[in-house]
């Protein structure tokens, strides 16, 4: 009698865990940013870095407005919001690293254009940073897919 009850409890717990994994996957899938969003954000952030390297403050303001527009477009049709801030020390370290990288690329671009007279340096720095952001957006999508597959495989 007790064994039958234990088996029922175990089966119910197993069913509950499977239902948790399926529901988690549905949430993660709905929150996964579309590919266009990663591309648009990388173009805009690259533009901000290029404008900052060139010392074009008005262009920075335009790019920031473009970024707000891209985020608003993404949110318009969104039904689930992913976590915006990293909740691990590693996540914060990665975010800080990206900000430091942006500052270094801006400083490098500014140095090359002002001290060395290389007019293309701000564009190159924007391109480098934009590419880095795009690669990060692709790896983020991979991480989402891995989490979805991980849930369905459990």
């Amino acid at each position: 009698m007790k064994n039958t009850k234990n088996a029922t409890d175990t089966a119910a717990a197993q069913d509950a865990l499977e239902s948790i994994h399926a529901a988690s996957s549905a949430g993660i899938k709905a929150a996964m940013p579309p590919r266009w969003f990663g591309l648009a954000i990388s173009v805009v952030t690259g533009g901000i870095v290029a404008a900052a390297s060139a010392g074009e403050t008005e262009l920075i303001a335009v790019m920031l407005a473009a970024m707000a527009g891209v985020i608003a477009m993404r949110r318009k049709d969104s039904v689930a919001e992913p976590k915006t801030l990293p909740n691990t020390l590693l996540g914060f370290a990665a975010l800080s690293g990206l900000l430091l990288f942006a500052l270094a690329v801006i400083a490098g671009g500014r140095f090359l254009s002002e001290a060395q007279g290389l007019a293309w340096a701000p564009l190159a720095s924007g391109g480098i940073f934009g590419l880095a952001v795009y690669v990060l957006s692709l790896s983020e999508r991979r991480e989402y897919r891995a989490r979805i597959q991980g849930n369905s495989g459990q």
Partner: protein, 102 residues
């Protein structure tokens, strides 16, 4: 099931799925939850109210495209309770696997 660890508020299948859907997210729209769970508005409202009364979820109203939308988010208390509930379920399954078949 081990009543000491299983959270009775979360344990109901629909409430468990609401928490599981919200756990990896910042928040989710009410209609999305309704469609995912395949329940009516009233059924979902009832379950969300019970989770809200326990302090596990919070509701936020947002105006989008000129219409008011309700978004649901899992609170930190909700996250803690959900994690503990999942651990309890995993322990039950792990304990059953550890028992040798006679």
């Amino acid at each position: 099931m081990s009543a000491a660890e299983i959270d009775p508020v979360i344990h109901a299948p629909n409430r468990l799925r609401i928490c599981a859907t919200l756990a990896p997210l910042e928040s989710a729209e009410f209609q999305f939850l309704r469609d995912t769970l395949e329940v009516s508005d009233s059924v979902l409202s009832k379950h969300i109210k019970q989770l809200e009364d326990a302090g596990y979820v919070k509701l936020r109203k947002k105006k989008m495209n000129g219409r008011q939308h309700t978004w649901v988010l899992l609170t930190s208390t909700g996250h803690t309770a959900f994690r503990a509930h999942v651990e309890a379920l995993e322990q039950i399954v792990a304990a059953a696997r550890a028992i040798p078949v006679a």
